[in-house]
């Protein structure tokens, strides 16, 4: 008993426990949950019923899928680069999972048997550059895809890998800029401090920077290779994209990695913009005092529940988006990133810099009402940004069609006559 108490009070051991919890939540709960809900919701959205045969309401469907993947023949084609081919899915998987190390699940806990004032953090690693860690791990995610694609020695897989790389490079930029906005708001790179600030003031960062939120969200979609950014596995063009040559458990690893990645990225967006574990906006849910809510273990469980609920809502959102927005064409994808999102993100950044310079700084201890001027200023700035974007897009008369300039103009009779001459 003594030993267990001591272990729980020790940050290192507690980190190990959080690691187990984190992995359990992500790989053991979120991913199967996401897979089941993906299939269920996809069905509903298409006016079908979805899986309902395995277990009541189809809840055992992920298990059945897992068993199927285990039993399937694991083919390694003869022409692949074997070590890399085998490694790639697991790199994907590992990278998707290690992002969780810095997610602050539920603030701090003070156990009754601990020294006065001491706490353990519900975080695997309390890095003081948590945001940077998160960003770098998120961009490592593409390595699994690229290595798998390259090692497959298959042109379709290869295209998929190249697309994933180009897309990743482009969407890192708005993602980084959007995250920079959040860093400037709180002046910190520590994820738990970012959450504390939001929870204490009740001003979630989304109320300050909705534009940056949308940009980071979009970039997060692109990072996970989900529709509408799933060009890396566009099955209509590339068979299966980067996982064309993968089967059985290796394919399942890619699959799980995608879902873990979704969960990781939603956790990041939640921490940065949606108040982390804070149950409700506008109210203060944290203060430096050691009350039961701030450091109690029961409160920690509730906070964890809130966080997980937000992740679940996010996964549902991912699925709804998947069935709403059709896949971009590649040039549209690039145009969106470089001509749309990067300028907007720079705008949001400039806005935040202005706010800091003009003294519109969030002071968490003042609560929501005390920070109202800052919020209003930020929202006004965002409205200006959106207005500017609308103005620019309304002024641009060039059609966004992707037609190459050396093709005959649409509706040009002479050119059509020439073409028909060729056909004849």
């Amino acid at each position: 008993m003594e030993l267990i108490q001591n272990l729980l009070a020790n940050q290192l051991f507690f980190s190990v426990i959080m690691m187990a919890v984190g992995l359990g939540v992500i790989a053991g709960v979120s991913a199967p949950f996401a897979i089941l809900f993906e299939r269920k919701l996809s069905g509903w959205i298409q006016d079908r019923i979805g899986p309902n045969r395995v277990g009541p309401w189809g809840v055992l469907q992920p298990v059945a899928d897992g068993v199927k993947f285990l039993m399937k023949e694991d083919i390694t084609p003869a022409h692949v680069d074997k070590p890399v081919f085998i490694m790639a899915p697991f790199i994907s998987m590992i990278v998707a999972l290690i992002g969780f190390a810095v997610i602050p699940w539920a603030g701090e806990i003070h156990f009754p048997w601990m020294d006065e004032g001491a706490t353990v953090r519900t975080q695997v690693a309390n890095l003081n550059v948590g945001v940077l860690y998160m960003l770098s791990v998120a961009s490592l995610g593409v390595y699994g895809v690229v290595l798998g694609a390259w090692a497959s020695n298959n042109k379709y897989a290869f295209y998929g890998g190249i697309r994933a790389t180009a897309q990743m490079i482009s969407y890192e930029v708005p993602l980084g800029l959007g995250v920079l906005v959040v860093i400037l708001i709180g002046g910190t790179l520590e994820l738990d401090k970012i959450v504390y600030a939001q929870a204490q003031s009740g001003v979630w960062n989304i109320f300050l920077h909705p534009v940056a939120f949308v940009l980071v969200l979009t970039a997060a979609f692109a990072e996970t290779n989900r529709t509408p950014f799933d060009l890396a596995e566009a099955e209509q063009e590339l068979v299966g994209g980067y996982h064309t040559e993968y089967s059985a458990m290796k394919f399942a690893a890619f699959f799980l990695a995608e879902y873990s990645h979704m969960a990781t990225n939603s956790a990041l967006v939640i921490v940065l913009f949606l108040g982390g574990w804070a149950p409700l906006p506008f109210l203060s849910f944290w203060s430096p005092e050691h009350t039961w809510w701030n450091v109690g273990w029961l409160a920690a469980l509730i906070k964890f529940g809130c966080f997980f609920g937000k992740i679940a809502a996010f996964l549902v959102f991912y699925i709804v988006i998947r069935w709403t927005v059709p896949r971009f064409r590649f040039d549209q994808l690039m145009r969106l990133a470089w001509k749309g999102m990067v300028p907007l993100a720079i705008g949001a950044l400039v806005l935040q810099v202005l706010m800091t310079a003009l003294g519109f700084i969030i002071r968490p201890e003042r609560g929501f009402a005390g920070n109202l001027p800052t919020v209003l200023f930020a929202l006004a700035g965002n409205a200006v940004l959106i207005g500017l974007a609308m103005f620019v897009t309304a002024r641009s008369t060039r059609e966004v069609t992707g037609r190459q300039d050396n093709l005959p103009a649409v509706g040009n009779r002479n050119a059509n006559a020439k073409l028909s001459g060729i056909i004849q």
Partner: protein, 197 residues
């Protein structure tokens, strides 16, 4: 030469500001998605819960598993003319002809195998058969544990006739029996003729 009036000019639709900004359109699309997601009644009525519920088929022209028809005397109606196997685009009918033991026809199939896995259920065999001996039935839920099991032989195909003749009676009366065995004569072989056995 493509005639001018055959050329259709298609101008790309002009994008509105909300189109160009993506997001308003995404939100509009999500409304549609969510509407479908919550329309419980619609998906209940569209879905057929297959093994428990079955669709009502049009028995006369549904193209399911084959059967080999029998004539009123219980003999296989096929005369091993190979028309069906010639017509079959999937080359899945294998017939071995033998000399008929009956006086009213020259040949009969000693073996008649259809590979139900290769078959594309096009119904060409049924159309080709001069004596309507091969027909497609409304049965579609056929399963087997091996490929070999899915090659249906003559006995199996005749059995299917016994099983399905109540659901779907044989189309035309037999034309092979020219009155020799005390059955019908040629006059009744017209498609519209009354069958009197």
């Amino acid at each position: 030469m493509i005639r001018d009036e055959d050329i259709m000019m298609v101008a790309p639709p002009t994008l509105t500001t909300s189109d160009k900004l993506y997001l308003p359109q995404v939100i509009a699309g999500m409304r549609t998605t969510l509407r479908h997601m919550f329309s419980v009644a619609k998906r209940a009525e569209t879905t057929v819960q297959y093994p428990e519920q079955k669709r009502k088929l049009r028995v006369e022209n549904y193209r399911g598993v084959h059967r080999l028809n029998k004539d009123p005397d219980g003999r296989v109606a096929c005369v091993a003319c190979f028309m069906c196997s010639t017509a079959c685009p999937a080359h899945c009918i294998h017939i071995e002809a033998g000399e008929s033991p009956w006086p009213d026809r020259e040949k009969y199939p000693v073996k008649f195998d259809i590979d139900e896995l290769r078959c594309i259920y096009c119904g060409m065999c049924e159309e080709a058969c001069p004596c309507d001996a091969i027909e497609l039935t409304p049965h579609y839920d056929l399963v087997g544990k091996s490929r070999q099991e899915m090659v249906f032989d003559k006995e199996k195909l005749l059995r299917i006739f016994d099983e399905t003749k109540d659901v779907k009676p044989r189309k035309n009366p037999p034309v092979t029996d020219y009155g020799l065995t005390g059955g019908q004569d040629k006059a009744v072989a017209r498609p519209t003729a009354e069958r009197k056995v």
